[in-house]
């Protein structure tokens, strides 16, 4: 049923792109990941994940305008494709289904 395998980090990156909407590019995604998950991700890992996702067809990208704070370089802006969206939904559906199937006693109680 799963068309393409997504690693955990890729899934998080894909979700972050979705969160950021139109402003999703390398630095912003790294910052957002840092903020949301609290883990220190390296920018190179993010870049690698982004391009891999693009190769898999779950992201698409275009080059944005050149800006002064980047020394006149353009940034690559990413957005989620239909395939990416469907994959995320699929993953979520599987998770939900699994959550639903857990009996109340199945998980040790955790106090949040």
């Amino acid at each position: 049923m799963r068309r393409s395998y997504l690693g955990e980090f890729e899934e998080v990156v894909l979700l972050t792109v979705a969160v950021l909407g139109t402003g999703a590019y390398g630095v912003a995604i790294t910052d957002e990941l840092d903020r949301q998950t609290g883990r220190a991700v390296s920018i190179s890992a993010v870049h690698a994940a982004l391009h891999r996702l693009e190769e898999k067809g779950m992201l698409k990208s275009h080059l944005g305008e050149a800006t002064a704070e980047r020394g006149g370089r353009r940034k690559r802006l990413f957005s989620v494709t239909v395939l990416g969206s469907r994959t995320l939904h699929d993953i979520r559906a599987v998770r939900d289904q699994l959550w639903d199937s857990i009996s109340p006693q199945g998980l040790p109680a955790v106090s949040l």
Binding site: G26, S42, I43, L63, R70, R74, K75
Partner: protein
């Protein structure tokens, strides 16, 4: 506020270009923020760290281009090239056929010559000790002349070995002798030699039975070849220790059986021991004789480095003076020198005492011919390809427009040449395979395709590549240089440069062909000259027999009986034969001779009827039974008379070998050897014994058959234990010119091939020209030009080229052939008509070739050629 430069440089170096901009942008953005938040040093450190974090294969990988430039050697392109090449071949069947046929013939020819050259170089190259083997030779200074000769005293080998520690082995080698072998009922004549006990230790003759140590160490030992062992005893092993009776007299025991390799310059079916040979030839125990070859092997030190031959040569130079002190008093000086044995076969000629060519000249000559013929075939290819370049130009234009570089196009055209050459090679190998048996008979060789030999394949490969490269280079360079814009606009004009080049190639081709034609004519004229030259004696109807066995003792009876039988005119005997002299002597004295000079005389001991049998003219008289004093009378030839200096020699005193006598007759000069050497002074003396001589029989004209029958009957009566063998003088004579006959025949074939291939090319060019000028011819015809004028118009251009070729090649041919003729003491003149004839031949053949095309073009209906526009 800048990030570290080196980090940027590094990033730029490893990062894939399509990722570079965004990555650098991101890093820069973070750098600025870090600098603002944490200060510049931290930001810079962080920048470097982040750059380093990109050092992953993912970021190295370059993106595939959306419009990738395919490599020249990409399978797709190669498939395309092959397809186009094949279409070109298939589409222009006649041009392709001309190309392939020309190349195939040229390659076949070159391959054949190459195989022959390889074979020539393999002769005598199989001895493991080859580099240490040397022939000891004599350089004789006498009579103001210097002569080199392989003949040395028979005692030399043993003395040299004793005297010089540098020599590890030494052996003499006798002349070839033919002896009658008898084993039980089997009776046959075999050819072999005698050699010293070291012989088999020096030479790598595979021993099938026996050892090199014991093969020749006893006086009655005989080593025989495998063939003899199989003929007489069934197998090499069975032959060992068995007895063979030689000359119906002495018994010898087989001590070794060897294999005689095919590529040996000296072949012998048996080897007798030196001791035995010396016992039979007491006269060889003199240091003054020089009739035998001597060969030595240099000692090698512990590291395998042989002794210095140059130093040894210097030491042995004056060696003979010690043993032959009389030499100096006779005005003779003999020095020893060394010739490397492996070279002896190819460098066999000596001129004025020093090495001067030999077979190596034929090897070089044919090597050059091979290159020439291949070149002629390549030129065909070049010419046709460039002539037809108009047709290929459009393809070149299109290819260039869609992005083919010049290198690609060159590769493509050379590749195309390679395809054609490969096809031609297959054909050539087939042709050579078919011709090899004929070629082997002609050259008396055993050449075969060495399919298992890597060098054979390398040869083929190199030949194909070289041919393709030469043939394909000019068209490739020319076509690839064309300007695509002008080609596609249709405004291309081929400059006169290309035409000039093409024309000079045709000139070159025909010049080479002319060279070969002239060479062939002159070689043939020389051979014809040899055949028809008056030798001073009549070689027709003369038969040689060997006076062997009982025949020598019963010679008188033999002669008297024969003269009574049908077909026989006269009978005599002599040392040697009329066509091969026996030997020379310097021991001739006469009153008034300058004691300080030494004149060498060819000599022969003969029987009565000598001049009558040979049919040489004699002034004075021949030996006669009527004069009892004739046992000390001498016949000399005119050259001898001149050298002695008698104005009227008949009746004058002469002393040969210390026996004073009178000159009774002067014979006309006749050739005692081949025409390579000049006639020398000759002296004949009457001999009572036929032992060791050759019996010469003059047959009645036209009665050769009866004469042979008579000879055979008498032979069987008087000499039944020996098989009857004889030789015609004419055949013996022909054999002297074996190599020039072969060269003549080969040169003939090669010249024909060269002309044929050249004409193939010319035919192609003419066809192309006629095709190009179809319109022009049409217009001319409409305006009233006659067929003849058009034919001459079309032929003119080509004939001019052939004319230039004739003018250019004639002096070269004259020079080359003049050098070849230098080898003959008696030779033809190179006359002007040879060049005229060759020129006429070339023009004629060229005209014939062109006329087919030009007449076809001239006869065409102009309506057809003009209607299409």
């Amino acid at each position: 506020m800048k990030p570290p430069k080196y980090a940027d440089k590094l990033l730029q170096f490893f990062c894939a270009p399509h990722l570079f901009e965004e990555i650098q942008g991101d890093l820069y953005e973070r750098f600025l923020r870090n600098a603002k938040l944490f200060g510049l040093p931290y930001a810079r450190r962080q920048y470097v760290r982040e750059v380093l974090s990109f050092l992953k294969p993912f970021f190295f990988k370059r993106q595939a281009n959306e419009h990738p430039s395919i490599s020249f050697l990409n399978p797709v392109m190669i498939r395309n090239y092959l397809k186009i090449a094949w279409r070109n071949i298939a589409h222009n069947k006649s041009f392709s056929a001309i190309n392939i046929l020309g190349l195939a013939l040229g390659m076949a020819c070159s391959l054949l010559i190459l195989l022959w050259i390889q074979d020539e170089f393999s002769v005598d190259a199989y001895h493991a000790n080859g580099p240490q083997l040397y022939n000891v030779m004599e350089r004789q200074f006498y009579d103001g002349k210097v002569d080199a000769s392989p003949g040395t005293p028979a005692l030399l080998a043993d003395e040299l070995k004793k005297e010089f520690p540098e020599i590890v082995y030494a052996s003499g080698l006798s002349w070839e002798q033919e002896l009658t072998f008898s084993v039980g009922e089997k009776l046959n004549k075999e050819k072999g030699r005698a050699a010293g006990p070291d012989w088999f230790k020096m030479h790598s003759l595979p021993l099938l039975a026996g050892t090199a140590e014991t093969a020749l160490n006893g006086p009655t030992n005989i080593a025989i070849s495998r063939q003899l062992a199989e003929n007489y005893f069934g197998s090499p092993q069975a032959a060992m220790g068995k007895s063979i009776r030689l000359g119906n007299k002495d018994d010898y025991q087989v001590s070794a059986v060897y294999e005689m390799p095919e590529n040996s310059s000296e072949t012998y079916d048996y080897v007798l021991s030196w001791a035995d040979f010396m016992r039979h030839n007491e006269w060889l125990k003199e240091w003054g004789t020089n009739a035998l070859q001597t060969r030595i092997q240099l000692r090698t030190d512990r590291n395998g480095v042989p002794a210095d031959p140059g130093r040894l040569e210097a030491k042995m130079k004056a060696f003979l003076k010690k043993y032959n002190p009389k030499m100096a008093t006779k005005g003779l000086d003999i020095q020893l020198f060394l010739q490397p044995y492996p070279e002896a076969y190819l460098y066999s000629n000596f001129k004025n005492g020093y090495q001067d060519g030999g077979r190596i000249e034929y090897v070089r000559l044919f090597g050059i011919v091979a290159v020439f013929i291949l070149l002629i075939a390549c030129i065909n290819f070049m010419n046709l390809a460039t002539a037809r370049s108009v047709k290929r130009a459009r393809e070149v234009g299109v290819r260039k427009v869609v992005g083919a570089g010049r290198g690609w196009l060159i590769g493509q055209f050379i590749g195309e040449a390679l395809v054609l050459t490969s096809l031609a090679l297959v054909l050539a190998v087939g042709v050579v395979w078919m011709l090899l048996p004929v070629f082997n008979t002609l050259t008396e060789k055993h050449i075969s395709f060495q399919f298992a030999n890597a060098s054979f394949w390398v040869t083929l490969l190199v030949m194909t590549l070289a041919t393709a490269l030469i043939a394909g280079s000019y068209p490739a360079l020319f076509l690839s240089s064309l300007n695509p814009v002008r080609i596609l606009k249709g405004s291309i004009r081929f400059g006169s440069g290309a035409r000039l080049f093409r024309q000079s190639l045709v000139v070159f081709q025909f010049a080479l062909s002319m060279l070969l034609i002239i060479g062939t004519i002159i070689v043939y004229r020389q051979i014809d000259f040899i055949q028809t030259k008056n030798l001073g004696f009549d070689r027709e109807g003369m038969i040689y027999l060997q006076a062997e066995g009982d025949l020598a003792a019963k010679y008188e009876t033999f002669k008297q009986e024969l003269l009574r039988m049908p077909g026989i005119q006269t009978v005599t005997f002599m040392n040697g034969t009329p066509t091969t002299s026996f030997g020379t002597t310097g021991n001739v004295q006469w009153p008034g001779k300058d004691p300080a000079t030494s004149i060498q005389f060819q000599f022969s001991q003969v029987d009565y009827d000598f001049t009558k049998t040979l049919k040489v003219k004699v002034a004075g008289r021949d030996f006669s039974r009527d004069f009892a004093t004739d046992s000390v009378s001498y016949l000399i030839n005119k050259t001898a008379a001149r050298r002695i200096g008698y104005r009227d020699p008949i009746g004058k005193p002469l002393t040969l070998w210390g026996k004073p006598g009178l000159i009774i007759g002067v014979v006309d000069d006749f050739h005692q050897n081949s025409l390579h050497v000049a006639i020398e002074p000759f002296i004949a003396k009457l001999s009572p014994a036929a032992e060791g001589k050759n019996i010469i029989i003059r047959t009645q004209p036209g009665q050769t058959k009866q004469a042979l029958a008579s000879l055979e009957t008498m032979w069987h009566q008087l000499n039944p234990t020996f098989p009857f063998t004889y030789q015609f003088a004419d055949e013996a004579f022909q054999r002297l010119y074996r190599s020039e006959t072969v060269v003549g025949t080969l040169a003939n074939y090669f010249a024909f091939l060269a002309v044929f291939i050249s004409c193939l090319g010319l035919f192609g060019l003419a066809a192309f020209m006629a095709e190009q000028r179809t319109k022009e011819i049409g217009v001319r015809k409409v305006l009233g030009a006659s067929v003849t004028s058009i034919v001459s118009l079309l032929s003119q251009d080509f004939l001019k080229l052939v004319g230039v070729a004739i003018v250019l090649s004639s002096p070269v041919a004259w020079y080359a052939m003049n050098r070849w003729l230098q080898d003959y003491a008696y030779k033809v003149e190179i006359e002007w008509w040879v060049f005229a004839l060759a020129g006429l031949l070339a023009v004629g053949v060229a005209l014939l070739t062109i006329s087919f095309q030009s007449i076809k073009a001239a006869l065409m209906n102009p309506v057809k050629s003009l209607r299409s526009e």
